[in-house]
């Protein structure tokens, strides 16, 4: 008997059903209300004789007496088929575009299963995003998870769209490109912005959207990224596609998880988030990768807004420990009118070292990147000194750094939304800007390369031809 009448208790989004038998942990149940409407729930705890369920759509309107719960005996699954592409689903994987149900080729458990580390291939192929700061300094690699750490009001959505538009290259190995987009707690118009941008750039038929908007049930939000990643894994590893997964906003996801955890009465760890937040985030981020025996890949760009721009907040902090680097956006740059406002120093791509250089990008890539990082780090020192003693009192070297900093931000970081720079353009631009510094200051590069790349006259030409 898998059908039960009545509930024992209701608390927050959780309900308890008594006198049950043979109910499995994590299985899904249909809950029929007195008025005939249907909701879904998931078993989050079982004691002998009692099951605790989390109701996705919330418990408003549920009563102890007239509720009927039917257990399906299966974990949460979504239908999978190639026709997912171009479709729009709600946060729990139900179609909301009016095009009917998916004819499933198979069903996938949304929790996924851990990839065996020995079956992973180490990601090496870089994705040319056409954005100088990313391509040169925090190169995105196919199969990587590289989050964008942003703040409310910064241009992270625009950046994500630009990456999708410009990265949409079909591979030489013939694998197709696709996007899986998961929105968690984002505003209606943000979701709409993404949809329109995908449409304009002609990728909409290659996009699967999972939308849990800010007024949708918060509990479904916990499922949204998992549904999206299940679809992504299927398309990548079984249909050999290169899938770029955009998860926005992971902070809303974390908050939903916190709400759920506290309603279960769990002991909180930092800032009220559950102790398993790290494991939970990891179970999603680790679903990026390349596996042996498939030419497809799952690349993740999770976007998260740092509450109060605080990078030590548990969500960005734990994310940074799991992901392979981060792209940090900066409010000060945004206010200066720099787009994309990528804060270079705290940003990093851990996988770039093996995916750049000869045979991938260009032989001088790592020298150029290292020197740009080192030089820009000194810009910060020069600026703080200037704010104390005044610019005029600075030594000539420090003045050169100040100038380099300005030029670097204006010409290198800054670019147009529709400007797609090749890796050659980006690296050449980097060398040209480094020529604003005295040659001896370029201590990360050997003399031979400097002879080839150090050309102050090119900088003059740049300033003459494009005074931005």
């Amino acid at each position: 008997m898998r059908l039960y009448n009545g509930l024992k208790s209701i608390s927050g989004s959780l309900i308890a059903v008594d006198n049950v038998e043979g109910i499995g942990y994590d299985e899904v149940a249909d809950i029929r209300l007195a008025d005939g409407s249907l909701r879904r729930g998931r078993v989050v705890e079982v004691d002998k004789g009692r099951a605790i369920l989390q109701v996705f759509e919330g418990t408003a309107g549920l009563s102890l007496e007239n509720t009927r719960t039917r257990f399906t005996g299966r974990p949460m699954e979504i239908p999978l088929a190639e026709e997912l592409l171009g479709r729009v689903f709600d946060g729990a994987g139900r179609p909301i575009d009016g095009l009917g149900e998916i004819h499933a080729e198979k069903y996938g458990d949304i929790n996924g299963r851990p990839l065996n580390p020995v079956m992973r291939s180490y990601p090496r192929n870089y994705i040319n995003t056409g954005i100088s700061s990313i391509d040169a300094l925090m190169t995105l690699i196919r199969g990587q998870k590289l989050p964008v750490f942003s703040g409310s009001g910064l241009s992270h959505n625009k950046l994500a769209v630009q990456i999708v538009r410009q990265a949409k290259i079909a591979d030489e190995d013939g694998a197709d490109f696709g996007v899986v987009f998961a929105a968690m707690g984002v505003k209606n118009d943000v979701a709409d912005y993404f949809r329109r941008s995908f449409e304009e750039s002609g990728v909409l038929e290659r996009v699967v959207m999972f939308l849990n908007l800010s007024d949708d049930p918060i509990i479904e939000r916990i499922l949204t990224p998992k549904c999206a990643l299940t679809a992504a894994e299927y398309l990548a590893f079984e249909k050999n596609m290169h899938i770029l997964v955009i998860l926005t906003d992971m902070t809303s996801y974390g908050e939903a998880l916190r709400e759920f955890s506290s309603s279960k009465g769990e002991i909180p760890a930092r800032k009220g988030y559950p102790g398993y937040l790290y494991s939970d985030l990891a179970s999603m981020y680790e679903r990026a990768g390349v596996v042996e025996g498939s030419i497809g890949s799952v690349t993740q760009i999770p976007i998260l807004t740092m509450p109060n721009d605080d990078i030590t907040h548990p969500i960005p902090d734990l994310t940074g420990y799991i992901t392979e680097g981060q792209i940090v956006l900066d409010r000060e740059l945004e206010q200066k009118g720099i787009y994309p406002p990528v804060s270079v120093l705290p940003s990093l791509s851990r996988l770039m070292k093996d995916g750049i250089g000869e045979g991938y990008t260009r032989a001088d890539h790592s020298d150029c990147a290292n020197q740009l990082f080192a030089a820009y780090a000194k810009v910060g020192d020069a600026r703080s000194l200037a704010s104390v003693i005044g610019e005029d009192e600075l030594s000539p070297t420090d003045k050169a750094y100040l100038r380099f900093g300005e030029l670097f931000e204006k010409y290198f970081l800054n670019q147009y939304f529709d400007e797609n720079r090749s890796i050659d353009q980006t690296l050449d631009l980097g060398w040209t800007l480094l020529s604003a510094l005295p040659r001896t200051a370029l201590d990360r590069v050997n003399e031979k390369l400097l002879d080839e790349k150090y050309h102050p006259e090119k900088l003059d030409e740049l300033l003459r031809t494009s005074p931005q």
């Binding site: 705890e45 002991i267 790290y278």
Partner: protein, 587 residues
């Protein structure tokens, strides 16, 4: 039959039974998932399950095994990659494909592989626990020495002939005093939470040489010592661990990826099989064991992975080897403790961590040491644990408690990492309690001047740190020339010495002798320059010689195998000063 009563994530409870004992290994559910008993009271037994419990139902069977969770120790460990409870991941992949599914039934070590065994005892010999009775080549560099299990001693009544045997074949039979016969094989079991015994603990006296200048020269670690590497994300914890795993002079490396990234383990696998150990011309995998329990693998097995790793290390130590363990990261292990503790509804201490966190950390780090095992002259286990402080805040419980139990602390610094100064070990916050204990070693093996020079370099850096406070406020121009020199020398030390390029063929590993000669050159230049300044020569004129920049690049310009070129470099410094400033300072 005992059955599952309740399930909450990895925590499963069984009611009304007294069949189980603490820390006993149990098989839980229809799929026989591996679990461990972690709590018993009169009406319920609590079990933590090392695998995902999705789909498990109350009423499924729970069976005890009568033994604690143990590691199987025998030939076939080295070069292998295991999950947290010593199941070989390659075998799981062969059975299950790309994903790991629960309830995988694979044996820990290959039972069909034959090893080329040479006996070390003969019939009639008296043997005791821990004594080596046979040896076989395990990899190109490691000879596996099988030991009589602890607790067994007596007379050898049977000994197989030298030849090929599997780990299940009986190699010798021992009859003890009571007349009981024990068949002894190449492999044995040992409970992972119990330290393996040894005859004596020996004093720490030798450094683990890593080829990393900031470690070997400034903050050395001992063979048998303990070190913590704390750092926020992106500061290079994993990179530091990889460098040590590649280059340190231990015989065996146990690399535990505990709750970290899957791609990193893949990288270690790929990179280490491609890298050749210069000491013996064999791939680094020939001396490496990997334990991978990545962040998305079950959390309870993350806790076990640390113990599995250190048990394997102790086992090789008992054969007379020097082992280095890299645990990346102990914070994830502590979080696993917290997660299980939360599910048991225990009273939390700081930040939700259980009150027994410090005692568990201490128990782990105390398994390091330099010892005299029963079957060999000496062996050691060095533990290097990465710590991932939440919010990069070193005052959090795991970092603070770890600090109490380690003697070497390499603090990774975000601002150094942002400036791409690697390894980003902050010289002001880090320390090593071993430096004094090694004075003699350095004096005997490198140069008597090593320790005093190291102290001078440290004090120059400390002085720079003070001066930089002033520079930040008023700029460097107003400082007197001798202080400007201190800042310039400190720059050379920072950029030319402490900074080390892991991707440069020479700089990735630097022998102690070269480290010493580099240090000597830097200090020689400093002394020359200081003397010149005191005799009235301008600091800017000295900088104009370009010698400082020559020293910054000497790590690249002078190959590791041409130390004699440092003598030429010193002569060059001498000559430049004599030629340019001779008239002024009269030297």
């Amino acid at each position: 039959m005992n059955t599952v009563y309740s399930i909450n994530g990895p925590v499963v409870k069984v009611k009304n039974t007294s069949d189980f004992s603490m820390l006993e290994k149990v098989a839980v559910g229809e799929k026989q998932l591996v679990g461990e008993v972690i709590g018993i009271n009169s009406d319920e037994t609590t079990i933590q399950v090392y695998e995902v419990t999705t789909g498990m139902k109350p009423g499924e069977p729970v069976a005890g095994t009568g033994a604690p969770v143990s590691a199987v120790l025998g030939p076939g460990i080295i070069s292998n990659i295991f999950d947290g409870i010593e199941r070989p991941l390659r075998d799981i992949a062969a059975a299950d494909g790309v994903y790991i599914s629960e309830g995988a039934q694979v044996s820990e070590l290959d039972t069909s592989k034959k090893w080329d065994v040479t006996l070390k005892v003969a019939v009639g010999d008296e043997v005791t626990g821990g004594q080596i009775f046979a040896a076989c080549p395990e990899t190109g560099v490691i000879e596996h020495r099988s030991m009589v299990p602890h607790g067994i001693s007596g007379k050898v009544v049977f000994a197989a002939a030298n030849g090929s045997y599997t780990i299940e074949d009986t190699i010798i039979t021992v009859e003890d005093e009571s007349g009981t016969r024990h068949d002894i094989k190449l492999a044995q079991r040992w409970p992972i939470k119990t330290p393996r015994p040894y005859k004596n603990r020996l004093p720490i006296h030798r450094p683990l040489i890593t080829g990393q200048r900031v470690i070997d020269t400034m903050f050395p670690i001992a063979k048998g010592g303990t070190a913590a590497v704390p750092g926020g994300f992106g500061t290079g914890k994993t990179m530091t661990q990889h460098q040590l795993a590649k280059w340190c002079d231990a015989d065996v490396i146990v690399y535990i990826g505990c709750g970290e990234r899957g791609n990193e383990m893949t990288q270690v696998l790929e990179e280490f099989s491609g890298l050749i150990d210069p000491k013996n011309d064999r791939p680094l995998t020939d001396r490496t064991v990997l334990i991978a329990n990545t962040s998305n693998m079950p959390v309870a097995a993350r806790e076990a992975s640390i113990y599995t790793g250190i048990t394997i290390a102790e086992y090789y130590r008992d054969m007379g080897y020097h082992i280095a363990i890299m645990a990346d990261s102990t914070s994830r292990w502590a979080e696993a403790l917290r997660e299980i503790s939360g599910r048991l509804e225990e009273m939390p201490a700081e930040e939700g961590f259980p009150a027994y966190l410090p005692s568990r950390l201490a128990a782990f780090y105390e398994r390091a040491g330099f010892v005299e095992p029963f079957g060999a002259e000496e062996g050691s286990v060095t533990v290097i644990g990465a710590v991932s402080p939440q919010g990069s805040d070193f005052s959090e419980p795991v970092t603070q408690n770890t600090k109490r139990f380690v003697r070497c602390f390499w603090a990774l610094d975000k601002s150094l990492a942002y400036a791409r100064h690697y390894p980003a070990i902050n010289w002001n916050d880090s320390y090593s309690e071993y430096t004094d204990e090694f004075s003699e070693f350095y004096s005997d093996n490198v140069d008597p001047d090593f320790a005093p020079m190291r102290r001078r370099m440290a004090s120059l850096l400390a002085e720079e740190n003070k001066l930089m406070e002033i520079v930040k406020l008023i700029g460097a121009d107003v400082l007197p020339d001798d202080q400007k020199l201190t800042i310039e020398t400190a720059r050379v030390i920072r950029v030319g010495f402490l900074q080390q390029n892991a991707y440069h063929k020479d700089d990735t590993y630097v022998p102690l002798q070269k480290q010493f000669l580099m240090m000597k050159c830097i200090l020689a230049l400093h002394d020359k320059a200081l003397a010149a300044i005191q005799s009235g020569i301008l600091f800017t004129d000295i900088v104009a010689t370009g010698l400082f920049d020559v020293l910054v690049k000497m790590k690249y310009d002078i190959p590791n195998d041409e130390p004699e070129r440092f003598t030429a470099l010193e002569a060059q410094i001498e000559k430049v000063f004599d030629d340019r400033f001779a008239g002024v300072n009269g030297s």
